[in-house]
Amino acid sequence: MVVCTLCSCYPWPLLGIPPGWYKSDAYRARAVREPRAVLAEFGVTLPETARAGLGFDGRDPLSRPARCAPGGPRAWSPMRWPRWSPATAMIGTGLPRERGAS
């Protein structure tokens, strides 16, 4: 999950203008302290065994959303992010899926 608690900064050259909730006090204040409760508000439930990482994942940069992308990682290059991934998947509050698919 990605959050900026200090100023809501966001990689808009890559992802466009951020969703309103990303800039909200509630997301900025809570995502670092209770990420699982925040994810539940997006309809995402993490298993107990999953590790929630907040911020930039230095061990696996940029490839993180690709691991669970449709077609697997090979089908998924950064050039196709805008098509494949809603902003929630890139921010980490949703799972990757083809845009428009449910």
Partner: protein
């Protein structure tokens, strides 16, 4: 203490309310104009991104709390324009003197917007400051999160992460130090690291013991830890 913007970990904000994926990114027409005016003003070259962030975070707490996101942008921008002498308070009130502005030749014209955005504002720099840590090193963040040189000044070490033990994940190279650049004290580039801070080191009652926050932190925010 830092300032009102430093809200990570705060209690009492209520639920996050996700909007549909296809929701309009600009809830109001003027939000797009506020973004455009802010970008165009930044292109005048009178301040850097760290100073513009500080302009928003040093708004009065009462204003910061009641302003919407783009109201904060406009309020910070108005302060910056006056502080740097680009405009006067008379100008902002519509009572200024008309005529060509001294910065008119720096105006960001529509055909140059895409290229300016694509250039971005890279903050990586060469630095003479030796790299002190490597991946796997244990570190402790500074005991007090505030700007070490300017009381109430800009910093990227959040209060919730002060005095915490963590582990270096990655060395990002050297980058402009926001704590210095925001206050006209020079870019002072130094090494920047991704540091993993376990939830158990940050919160009185961690939601899940295995979770962690990964923060990008400058070298001067960190001390070695056993």
């Amino acid at each position: 203490m830092t300032r009102v913007h430093d809200m990570g970990g705060r209690f009492g904000d209520g639920p996050v309310r996700p909007e549909p994926e296809d929701a309009l990114r600009f809830a109001e027409d003027w939000h797009a104009r506020a973004l455009a005016v802010t970008l165009a003003s930044g292109a005048l070259g009178q301040w850097n991104i760290d100073r513009s962030r500080h302009a928003r975070e040093k708004l009065a707490p009462q204003d910061y709390a009641r302003f919407s996101y783009y109201e904060k942008w406009l309020a910070g921008l108005a302060d910056l324009l006056v502080e740097t002498g680009v405009l006067s308070t008379d100008d902002l009130a519509g009572a200024g003197v008309d005529g060509p502005h001294q910065l008119a030749d720096r105006v960001l014209t529509p055909e140059n917007v895409a290229a300016a955005l694509a250039r971005g504002g890279p903050a990586d720099r060469d630095s003479a400051v030796p790299v002190r840590f490597k991946p796997g090193d244990r570190v402790r963040t500074r005991a007090r999160a505030g700007n070490a040189r300017v009381p109430g000044g800009h910093t990227r070490l959040p209060t919730y992460a002060q005095g915490a033990l963590g582990t270096v994940l990655r060395v990002h190279g050297s980058h402009v130090l926001p704590d210095s650049a925001a206050h006209g004290l020079g870019e002072a580039p130094e090494p920047l690291y991704a540091v993993a801070l376990p939830a158990t080191a940050l919160w009185q009652a961690p939601e899940h013991g295995g979770d962690e926050v990964v923060l990008d932190l400058w070298q001067s925010y960190l001390d070695p830890a056993p």
